[in-house]
């Protein structure tokens, strides 16, 4: 079974540039998460979807970050006008629903460096 796939694996930007990250979840998983993991820290939730609907985006810096999942399958996270503070690994994860006995599966992440 294919896991959660993310691309690109690495990105290097100058401040002010834009970047998009793409995630292909495990087939059949209706819940998709985006996490930000700064260096030497734990992952922090940015946003999550159930099918195409945003369930919680309260931690997404809405002025520069956006996330979509238009058909309830793949998802794109976009950063407009990146800042050095955005340097982190961006993790995508998926799960087959929520609730009892839910397991969340993670992709390998996209490592972003903003210089």
């Amino acid at each position: 079974e294919a896991g959660v796939t993310q691309s690109p694996r690495y990105a290097v930007l100058q401040e002010g540039q834009a970047v998009s990250f793409w995630c292909d979840p495990i087939s059949g998983h209706d819940t998709l998460y985006w996490y930000q993991q700064p260096r030497d820290q734990g992952p922090q939730l940015l946003v999550y979807f159930r099918d195409e609907a945003v369930i919680d985006n309260s931690q997404l810096p809405s002025d520069r970050f956006s996330a979509v999942r238009p058909k309830g399958t793949n998802s794109t996270l976009k950063i407009q006008s990146a800042k050095q503070g955005d340097t982190a690994t961006y993790l995508c994860a998926s799960s087959p629903g929520t609730g009892v006995d839910t397991e969340v599966f993670f992709g390998k992440g996209t490592r972003l460096t903003v210089v």
Partner: protein, 112 residues
């Protein structure tokens, strides 16, 4: 504040020694609890999980964890570590059964 706390940022042990990595949570009720491992440049991999029942849960590669409601803890243990266990370990909670919240991680180094 609701949170997951891993008080030890770095732990170093000798190969063959026993291991305990500490985790405390601060949520009302009893959240689902997890330990994940992250090898260098790899994704997070689930080691074990606790939902209810027996407070000692077994995971992969000889890891186990013990839940304590009185102490609000979920410590990870291994009887004898191997050099390949060197990685970053994350404790996580799922308080509302829908989103994982992570601690800051403990970097484990196993010395030969």
């Amino acid at each position: 504040a609701q949170s997951v706390t891993q008080p030890d940022a770095r732990v170093t042990v000798s190969e063959g020694a026993s291991l305990q990595l500490r985790c405390k949570y601060s949520y009302s009720g009893t959240p689902y609890l997890f330990w994940y491992v992250q090898y260098q440049r790899q994704g997070l991999q689930l080691l074990l999980k606790y939902y209810s029942g027996d407070p000692v849960v077994q995971g992969v590669n000889g890891f186990e964890a013990e839940f304590s409601k009185s102490d609000s803890s979920f410590h990870l243990r291994k009887a004898s570590v191997h050099w390949s266990d060197s990685a970053v370990y994350f404790c996580a909670a799922m308080p509302n059964y829908n989103v994982l919240y992570f601690g800051s991680g403990t970097k484990l180094t196993v010395e030969p």
